[in-house]
Point group: C2
Chain length 835, copies 2
């Protein structure tokens, strides 16, 4: 049963016919013999039938009886428009895999590609293997149909439930970057990435094409992009579908590809042409890989891609209620609506379903006929069975160096100044050395600026083009991937992790928000994956924020925002962790923990600027393992019944809180102060709200039950307000945090503007200690005068006043005339590499 | 004084020389005569001198005395690398403007382009006009230098402080989409948009090139993109700088442009070639516009663009400490660091500054010499003076229809079902008709899906290419702009608003987060603009969220997130407003208010699905003007001293709260229930936290001082927790909100999963009413059994149980057997257009 209908507009047709590029395979002959062609077409019919069934049927799955309204689902959900073209591609890829025995992943980029992925997984058997309640027979087919887009069932896009998907497919734009992330360091893997023409309009997708420049054919696998132009988004045409072939070819050649166009709706011509196109592309990939791997060079040839122009909703109803549907935007979702209430639609649906001749595809028990099953690739090569698509199956734990070797010598609290990420850089360097094939570092060209430059001793930057003599640590086989795109950093890393490897990326805090929604989608993937035991745990997504809001004073207001963490914290608490290590030793501790963890999104915030170091390695280890603890050195001796607790999380707030505690003890004799530092933010939440929240007894051991708490926080105040909701006497928590007040300032002025300076904390703390009101009047006046003095000073001198620049913590409250020494190899320079 | 240094690598040079495209103007002759050339070069020197001065000098601005360490700023901030090339472009554009008298805006895309924009505005006089404390003389020059990147001063990127910038330039990637937004409906405007090669790697920028397909030359102005390839990001090379010219040409032709390449570092050749390139491009623009406007057709020719390859840090220090700097990544920020402590660097800085011969540029009083001032365009055409760059100056208030005409008839609370946005669509249709040149609607192809299709009676979709017969409401002069990119919707609208027009966009709630960081940047622009009286108020940025988390049950988990508002609410309270109109009449009221407002970001969330209508137009007007009020009909008669207050915000939570109040009264005789609905969320905050927060007396008039409050909220619980922080007895607020628990469900099941269903609210409310514990036991058991029944029912029937589907509010608590009637023209259909 072939469809010879022609739904391409005449304008499109004439474009298609006039294009005589050699890239376009001829439409007559082809690589498929008659038998294979016929079976392949029927396999496609089977996939199409299963897609229509998912959308419409809740009974009578195989049409053993005439179709009745009672067989139809009450809510018609799912998207037909994209499914049939994706089925076409999937079925043809199966043929290629059978022929050439290649490990292949199918990434379904277009929106709502769920029906295809479900159907093809069910046909190849992988669906039933992971869902024994959905066997590959009639009973299973019905259960399968009934589960689609129904309560407690499966969604209309790709998700963890279907074994051939490696990512959450609901938000469009990330398929191609995930595809490239998947093939890095997987030299034998082919990722066929289908990109919808709607999806192709998103900025993240447009920005992904350049990933090809970062591919090293010697050690990376290949991505075969298949741009599927079916003409329409929901109701309007797409930009690229309306471009003439000539311009599409220019565009994709300019992007670094060699496009092969397959266009039309003629059958069997389309089968032959698409099969030929796949062969041509795979030949080119093999040749490119063989040449590069033999010669040892990373010659940058163009990589092949396919542009498939086929009608939206191909093989579906051509006309409904007198208006054209197939090949138009009306085929986007369900081409036949209101089926239960409209007998004509019901009849049309039955004709449509029977047009695939299910009786020639499945046996009486609903099993795919053996001659069609024979088209399924060998078990291990089915696209729902290759291990990369369930990355935890191939995950190898990192060979981590002993993190204790990366301690920074801290002779006493606040006795040395250091750039916290430097030692982490050395640790990461050795992680790279020990794990040369499954660990990568990503970032928007800030590795050096973030003081992680030691990693360049282990590997270079990945060159995005030819190298010049003047370049710094650049090579086509570099493993430090720098691209000025937070989207790509996040997306490549996601693809890398989803296929069973490890990594991290570092970025500006403000611009981490560029990927808020991407992180949300990954969190949803992780959360849902936990429901399926067969989805094996993945390495965590580790994000280092070293250029943070409090020290972007010189970059100005646009570079200051702490909102990224707020968004992350709204994801389910069992998949996110948020850390604020206050110094170098805590940072190494936290990061080692993150690299060992699984299935989390870890967000670690620790500034790169030279700052006070508080804990030696052993103390940091203990502190971080508890998540929060009382810092005895910073509080007063009799702080067991404190007048006030100073809480802090984040490096800058910690310094201010320690200094405030110091000022209070120096200027208000007799005050009882306790300082609590928090590294692992989530423990502040009650355990009923967050699984690793601290139990109430432990919480009150830190914060007491009723003492006022001045909490100095790196992020926005409401994070802490909401976390302590439900704790005893929650109104006693007075939070100072980031509040969009900074502009162009000095470092200390940032905390002044945001009312989080040591002086302000001390003033505000005293306002909650009525016992000492009289004794504290002079101190409050002094603190206020210091704030006035500072304001004037910085406008004259452009740097903080000496009391601030030279302050350091002293056990005897003596004033220092110079800051503590710099740790060896660290620098005070704030200018050259601070992007 | 010319620089003839050659810092392009030999590989790049050979590319440059071998490119013999006709697009490349010859390098010898040129359009500039010797006098003009010389003066133009000196003007460029002046701009360069001012950039170096901004970075380094705090005294001795004109080098009237030898340079000493004490003249140097203690913190060296700002970015030299990009400045000199941008100065080059700015100066040449001035020449073009003088020649051709075109209204032109300069958009500086590369990171940290502040020094250029500041310097060129100061030279042309516009800077001093808006900042009288920075006059155009030596005193002003010094004050200008001293203000750059110092406390209380101006940032290192473009911001509202400099009159020639129309957007916040800190976060990269949005320059080109803002440029296109600016020229829509501004037929005589030219926007020269400089794009850095680092910026060109961001996904939003890559996705912006296609904007050209949405330009109608008959009624829109022109964008001249100038891609500035200076080779490096912070420390690595950029992708496009390493592409050969041939491939760049393919790429940009494919994107719809006709590139003109200007490459090199030879002078005066570069001046002549760049001037010629500008002439060629402007000729092409004029010709294209003239032809389209004469012929009345919208022929889609390629639009010109310039690719400028020049060395990073051109004219700066060539070698520092023995390593090459000019033309390398080392010129990115400050090419000479540690100047105060290194006498050699200090000398080198002085030589560098003097290489521009300031004595030949400025007179003894620091005023630009008259023969150079003569190069400044006529006053009104200076790029810091054209009114579009301060859009409020040309803002014309919308001619709005009488919003009372768009009321929906509501015979009684809950007595009719309607799709809330339908009437809004009619209102927007008439806004479009009344304002055909300064109002546009944007959206990712969801105008129809969001029930706003009435707008198509006023205008079509903007066609992104040739139109076909099959297309629906598509035309090249359409004013409804649909592109599947939240980035472009937001960015185009921003550009449109920033140049003094009006508009709105609608989108999915979950995917609004795609532009979290863009909205943050715009909020920062609005917030900072308020500090400058000369920046006139802009129309607000209006965002409609109609496909919201609670009714994306069928799309699945990926489509459910309420985080967008959480991010918006963290911006300064004086620039954001968040509305949750509960029905059609409230939605029209709120939107009319939004279109009249200025300088806000308004986020309006109201679902598109058929749902209960509660208030008639007059009641809605009163309710919305108060922001929140008690709904008497829903509470019990004696609710002045309620046992419990049910609060609600959002359409779905409102229905559940009203139903919960109904259930409580029906099943627990004697209970005193009050229902408070909140439309304008910000009023929940204390006035000390948020300027339009409700005073405490009014707040307690709604929520009492001590009654327990069950609050049903559309978003995450912590939004409400943080807002009521500081209110009397805050611990009595028990919030139910969205919590990432939905997957594939029915509408009602969404609220069940998120513990916000009427039954759950009723159960939880009763737990806070100890007075009625005994009387409420049966009710609690019934509510619990209904939840169990529902769970089973939906898994069998795939739709909600009849008690839910048919429920409607009744004054006598009688059970309904059918839902209320649909409003005329509204539909229950959930399938066809629900994307």
């Amino acid at each position: 049963m072939y469809h010879f209908n022609s739904t391409l507009s005449s304008a499109e047709q004439s474009d298609a016919e006039s294009a005589t590029q050699p890239e376009r395979p001829g439409s007559e002959a082809g690589p498929l013999d008659a038998d294979l062609l016929s079976r392949l077409h029927r396999y496609w019919n089977a996939a199409n039938y299963l897609c229509v069934g998912q959308i419409y049927l809740k009974a009578n799955a195989l049409l053993h009886e005439p179709l009745l309204a009672e067989h139809i689902k009450p809510r018609l959900l799912g998207h037909w428009g994209t499914s049939v073209g994706q089925n076409f591609i999937y079925v043809h890829l199966n043929r290629l895999i059978c022929d050439r025995r290649i490990e292949t992943i199918f990434i379904s980029g277009p929106g709502h590609g769920g029906p295809t992925m479900n159907a093809c997984a069910w046909l190849e058997g992988t669906y039933s293997e992971v869902h024994p309640d959905i066997p590959a027979d009639e009973e299973g087919m019905l259960a399968f149909f009934r589960s689609f887009s129904t309560p407690g069932g499966i969604p209309s896009h790709c998700g963890p439930h279907t074994p051939n998907s490696l990512h959450e497919g609901g938000e469009l734009g990330y398929s191609l970057m995930h595809a490239f992330g998947a093939v890095f360091d997987n030299p034998h893997l082919l990722v066929a990435c289908v990109i919808g023409d709607g999806e192709a309009e998103t900025c993240p997708l447009e920005g992904s094409w350049k990933s090809v420049h970062f591919l090293d054919p010697r050690r990376d696998g290949a991505v075969l992009p298949i741009l599927h132009l079916n003409g329409y988004k929901i109701s309007g045409p797409t930009v690229e579908a309306r471009l003439p072939d000539e311009q599409l070819i220019e565009l994709y050649r300019g992007r670094g590809y060699q496009p092969v166009i397959v266009a039309g709706d003629d059958l069997p011509g389309m089968h032959q042409r698409f099969a030929a196109a796949l062969n041509i592309c795979h030949d080119a990939i093999r040749e490119q890989q063989a040449r590069s791997r033999a010669e040892g060079g990373a010659a940058r040839a163009r990589w092949p891609m396919i542009i498939l122009r086929s009608p939206k909703g191909w093989t579906g109803p051509k006309v409904v209620d007198g208006v054209p549907v197939e090949g138009t935007f009306r085929a986007h979702q369900v081409p036949l609506a209101n089926v239960i209430g409209n007998p004509e639609h019901l009849q049309q649906l039955e004709r449509w379903l029977r047009s695939y001749s299910p009786e020639t595809l499945f046996d009486q028990n609903g099993r795919l006929l053996p001659e069609l099953q024979a088209l399924t690739p060998p078990a291990a090569l089915r696209m729902g069975a290759v291990p990369y698509v369930n990355g935890g199956r191939v995950l190898v734990a990192l060979d981590l160096p002993n993190f204790a070797d990366y301690g920074l010598e801290v002779p006493g609290p606040g006795q040395v100044i250091a750039e916290a990420p430097r030692r982490l850089g050395e640790y990461l360097r050795d992680v790279m050395r020990n794990n040369p094939h499954n660990f990568r570092v990503f970032g928007p060209d800030e590795t050096n600026s973030n003081r992680l430059n030691a990693v360049f001793e282990a590997s270079n930057r990945t060159a995005p083009g030819p190298c010049l003599e003047i370049d710094d640590h650049l090579a086509s086989d570099g493993r430090v991937m720098e691209v000025l795109s937070e989207h790509l950093c996040e997306g490549w890393l996601e693809g890398y992790l989803l296929t069973g490897r490890h990594g991290m990326w570092s970025t500006y805090e403000a611009f981490a928000q560029v990927v808020d929604s991407m992180v949300t989608q990954h969190a949803k993937w992780l959360q849902q994956s936990r429901e399926f035991a067969w989805r094996r745990p993945l390495a965590s997504l580790n994000i280092l924020i070293s250029s943070h809001a409090w020290r972007n004073d010189h970059n100005g207001f646009s570079h200051q925002s702490t909102g990224f963490v707020d968004n992350v914290l709204q994801r389910r608490a069992d998949v996110v962790r948020v850390y604020y290590p206050p110094d170098s030793n805590c940072l190494v501790n936290v990061f080692d923990h993150c690299l060992r963890s699984r299935n989390y999104i870890n967000v670690v915030t620790c500034g790169k600027q030279p700052d006070f170091q508080w804990l030696d390695f052993d103390a940091a280890l203990k502190h971080c393992s508890q998540g929060a603890s009382i810092w005895d050195f910073a509080g007063s001796d009799d702080s067991e019944t404190p007048d006030v607790v100073l809480g802090c999380a984040g490096d800058v707030p910690t310094t201010e809180a320690v200094a405030a505690a110091w000022l209070l003890q120096k200027h208000v004799p007799g005050i009882r102060v306790r300082l609590v530092n928090v590294v692992d933010l989530g423990i502040l939440s009650a355990p009923e709200d967050r699984p690793h929240g601290m139990d109430h007894v432990s919480f009150e051991a830190l914060f007491t039950r009723d003492a006022p708490v001045m909490f100095a926080f790196h992020g926005s105040t409401w994070v802490i307000h909401s976390m302590v909701h439900g704790r005893a006497n929650e109104a006693r928590f007075h939070v100072r945090g980031f509040s969009d007040r900074g502009t162009t300032t000095t470092p200390f002025d940032m905390v002044v503007l945001n009312r989080l300076s040591r002086y302000q904390l001390a003033i505000d703390a005293l306002s909650h200690v009525p016992r000492l009101r009289a004794q504290s009047l002079d101190a409050v006046h002094f603190f206020e005068s210091q704030l006035r003095k500072h304001h004037t000073w910085i406008r004259e001198h452009f740097e903080d006043m000496p009391e601030i620049r030279n302050w350091c913590w002293t056990a005897d409250f003596s004033e220092s005339q110079t800051p503590p020494p710099l740790a060896k190899g660290h620098s005070r320079g704030q200018t050259f590499t601070d992007a």
